[in-house]
Subunit: 377 residues, 4 copies
Amino acid sequence: MVGGGEGAYIGGIHRFAARLDNHYDLVAGAFDVDAERGHSFAAKNFIDRDRSYGDYLGMVTGERTRDDRIDVVAICTPNHTHFPIAKAFLEAGFDVICEKPMTTTVEDAIALHDLGQSTGRFLGVTYTYSGYPMVHEARAMVARGDLGKVRVVQVEYPLEWMATGIELQGNQQAAWRTDPKKNGRGGSIGDIGTHAYHLAGFVTGLKAEAVAADLATFVEGRALDDNAHVMIRYEGGARGLLWSSQVAIGQSNGLRLRVFGENGSLAWHQEQPNELVFTRLFGAPETIKRGRDDLTDGARVRTRTPPGHPEGYIEAFTNLYSGFAAVIRAKESGAPAGSFGEGIPSSYDGLKGVAFVDAVVDSHEKHNGGWLPLQFA
Amino acid sequence: MVGGGEGAYIGGIHRFAARLDNHYDLVAGAFDVDAERGHSFAAKNFIDRDRSYGDYLGMVTGERTRDDRIDVVAICTPNHTHFPIAKAFLEAGFDVICEKPMTTTVEDAIALHDLGQSTGRFLGVTYTYSGYPMVHEARAMVARGDLGKVRVVQVEYPLEWMATGIELQGNQQAAWRTDPKKNGRGGSIGDIGTHAYHLAGFVTGLKAEAVAADLATFVEGRALDDNAHVMIRYEGGARGLLWSSQVAIGQSNGLRLRVFGENGSLAWHQEQPNELVFTRLFGAPETIKRGRDDLTDGARVRTRTPPGHPEGYIEAFTNLYSGFAAVIRAKESGAPAGSFGEGIPSSYDGLKGVAFVDAVVDSHEKHNGGWLPLQFA
Amino acid sequence: MVGGGEGAYIGGIHRFAARLDNHYDLVAGAFDVDAERGHSFAAKNFIDRDRSYGDYLGMVTGERTRDDRIDVVAICTPNHTHFPIAKAFLEAGFDVICEKPMTTTVEDAIALHDLGQSTGRFLGVTYTYSGYPMVHEARAMVARGDLGKVRVVQVEYPLEWMATGIELQGNQQAAWRTDPKKNGRGGSIGDIGTHAYHLAGFVTGLKAEAVAADLATFVEGRALDDNAHVMIRYEGGARGLLWSSQVAIGQSNGLRLRVFGENGSLAWHQEQPNELVFTRLFGAPETIKRGRDDLTDGARVRTRTPPGHPEGYIEAFTNLYSGFAAVIRAKESGAPAGSFGEGIPSSYDGLKGVAFVDAVVDSHEKHNGGWLPLQFA
Amino acid sequence: MVGGGEGAYIGGIHRFAARLDNHYDLVAGAFDVDAERGHSFAAKNFIDRDRSYGDYLGMVTGERTRDDRIDVVAICTPNHTHFPIAKAFLEAGFDVICEKPMTTTVEDAIALHDLGQSTGRFLGVTYTYSGYPMVHEARAMVARGDLGKVRVVQVEYPLEWMATGIELQGNQQAAWRTDPKKNGRGGSIGDIGTHAYHLAGFVTGLKAEAVAADLATFVEGRALDDNAHVMIRYEGGARGLLWSSQVAIGQSNGLRLRVFGENGSLAWHQEQPNELVFTRLFGAPETIKRGRDDLTDGARVRTRTPPGHPEGYIEAFTNLYSGFAAVIRAKESGAPAGSFGEGIPSSYDGLKGVAFVDAVVDSHEKHNGGWLPLQFA
């Protein structure tokens, strides 16, 4: 693991996710830009001292020559460092699990994706929300035609936590997210809008063709957007509306997707992730619960408990990790990755996300909100 | 009453609304384009035969000379007839309650609004949803600063009922709504988008400055949009997103408004209209119920029952009617209209709605979704 | 109308209910124990002075001899006066609509029920909640076997408003409800428990055979129970649990019913009355909305608006009133009362309610919570 | 671990719970009554062959003499085996984590509790739901007086899965649960009613003094109750109502608790465990979310993610396990167990649960539903 040390929220989640299904052991890391703090963190996490590295380059060097070298590295650092770190590990022959957004520029994203292809290493991106079982169920339902042809996609990802200038008050998580150099061009649209965009594409299977966007920055002194409105046109005529916000008071982690087709609709809300509301044309809304025996494979393999026993974010993240494991093992063994390997967010998904943010910002900044085509979708 | 006869859904609502608070007696009407059917309907509704008119012109002529002439007429006909009917009654010296949209063109809307002004007659428009008590509460909360400066407005009005081509299968309500000549230029955006637009402005008190829109028609053979996505810019920098749809399976009458300010947020959903969710910055969401003693005047005068005794659409419509009555009486008496008269949708609101639809359609049709300023807001 | 004058909440509801469907005209009343206040109230409600009576006896005398005498009287007074007033009107040949509980003792209830039978007059009791369309739908679903044989009934009616000793602070509504002489033996169980009991029987069609109860009084100085727990045994082996409370903070008007059968279950909540949740054995819960075309007759005739346009308490009360009208007219004409007449709460329902309260109080006070059979069920 | 092998649902949960917080390593077990199947399961779980035992007696013998002997054993077998297994491990000097109910008879429960005391070993019982952070928050809120004196407790635990005779169709989980010899005297009341009873006591801190109960068996041929209604009297005058059911169609795992005090109320639902609804006297209901910084210690230490990132059943179970670890370590070290050790379900809680079931069944079977005092509370 690179990054994810003391106080780094997402690092802990990666470790839970690696541990829960017992597919990973955490044996090495460069956990902190402050090497001493990193070593101290490593010790607390039962990492041998000689595999606690001062920085990622040391880790690449140290690990590549060991017999018991790591199989895969997780990158949990701020956005602008994803590219060099992932590049170094890929080039050294390691598989990589990378936080989103994959990079801060489209050029880097293309390069990294190509590098993954050319080296034959696995490069996965943690689009967390695609790990939820009921998201897989939704995807399967759309795929098998339960909704008919998709017409309208409504997706939103509002948050409250940056509703004030906390980046000026010492909040490190907010500080790098509002710094264009570390975060990339998209504020809310890059941080959470990409999740919403990926989720919509994941469930509907539709490619987005163009976007028209209106970005806003409400907190004074902030350099990046903290609210984004995006109109989307999908292939085949479907239309989407995407809202991301970091200033939405009352919204803890309000990712929500609704898909409307010719014959039915689906609604899913991340804060109540064990349920999916499905309505047939002119029918009564049905609340489908995670854990039912009659769900599709993709939902069932990602489930540990029966209906009514809530599973959540850590289980979803675990499902991603177990999916990465399935794909990596399949790559090694040549055997198929099975249900767990399906829909795993890849470097191409990472590239699509970065390209989406770029187009959104361009639409707003350079085209007065007008329609811009998406290059990778 | 003009229109609203047998089988006309909204006419019945107008009659309930007129009756519930006992401010009106229904004594005359031209209820149907088919005069005989109209007379039959009038008889069932205890209207004297000599005040059941064959058409609206007959009614104007018949009523204007009576000693016991009507005070006010309600117009419940398809959109394209609003203008001539309202014009005739206004010119004959009657007050008018008109269904929305007020007219089908901006020119007509300007003319009608001006006519109301010049004749001194009352001309109200039934933006129904502004009759709900908790909508008034929301408006009062924004006005007194509970949310601080408004930043983001999310409003949507999805419906399911036109998800298939029912206008081709004999549904009269759908038939005129999909006929540009009778309905005007906006399909979903004119029929329900205007409600959403009015509601957002009503609660926030903000003027919209510009719109950028993406319209779609999903049902084959339909001439008007049945789904609209609109980005809105409000004065002072607030941003809005508006979605209207007539093809949203599972959505019965899903008008929903969320307003996010610097210090708090509000959420209201028409299908659960007795509740308002208010969240202070970093606070716990509070569910405020209609009927509480500590609500503002505007909510309290529009309430008939204590908390927990649900009131609904008919009560909201009644509140509009009682508000029209208050304003008309105030005009007659010179006394103030009181709380009931506040925020009553006027002909200027009607004009704003028509202008909004026009700008949305223009943005989509003529400016490739680009930003267009609003002339009346 | 007797009672229901200035400040009497329920009287206003009766008037709305009488007016909305246009089946009644309010033409006479004895609105207040204070005759002058009653006359003043009558004047405001457009009642001729000579039909505003000083008391109910005057009203009986005054009305019985008029050519245009009233058809039916509504009794909206405190519980202990229901008996003499209803008796006087029935004996004078008037039909009667009586607030619940019908009387304060079982003896009076028997006598009144018998009087209704012997005089041939109509005597209805306002078990309000049976007026809701979705309650009729629930009843029809149970009756046609959608749930299979009923096993378990969970019904509750919690309120907050008497959580403190407001009867000592001048609240008149609370004062008579906590006075055994005016209210009868049951506190919460008489005031609201009877509604819950009636609702459960109305929907399931089951007769209760026995009760075992635990009453409590939490507010100091209160003479009657303000919280009641009742275990119920129904014919055929079904079991019920009933909770009524006047001290349940956070519960505005929390009447809620759940019925579980061999093949399905139903849930209905008075504060969201437009929905009914139905679940088939091992199926996904379905949210059935009022206003759908595929509902049963009993629900459809009690509906004024399409799905998504909420109706509430006033509409439910109106449905009762329109049902009373249907039954009374059918009695006059000899024609069937139709769907509107079905399930109308009768004097026998009134008697059952009074007998239930009596048995509950006896179980608690005289049998240490042990099982007591119900005499009228 | 004893039991919990292939196909044993709860065993998997114990393993997740042991692993997630990294406090335990699973190194030995007697996983199955079929020894070969147990060994095969052990192998899949990376257990050394020599620590996969044929039965629990072999495990006691094998482990007690090892230098690297286990610290603590988890017992995940059917109810009737808890007693001999726990007894054997306690006597051999091991700490024990035991599934609930602790035993099938009060005598055994007393003996086991005493044995824990006399041996000085830890004996914890998995009352899972007390592991949820918001349950700890509720407990803390009651304790610090946010609700004032508690008046009414409403707790229910309805399930659907045994609504038909699945025990006759080969469902092993249902088979032993409906066999009095394996399960003990209480059907639904023993299996899930004890959870509800523990939860109510855990949150309110109140001791139950007496119960009056009505048990029913709805599925033909079933030997134990599958539905239980229990009235409870708590010390200080509070009243409780408890419903447990295994035949409640539509209820996946519907544990729900509501507590009403003099000054406020709380509501918590296991299927939405990240929220707690708190209402102050005459106030607006507030939805308090897990993960907030202003929650009490007990909630915060049991939380891994910020608000809006749902945690669930596995995390709650993990919290129990981490609490057991805290208490065991504290016992070893002499240092205090800290927040994680507070409220950990002990053998006395286990004893209380068994005694509750016994009293409930006695009330129903021997006292015609009359009140029976509780011996251990």
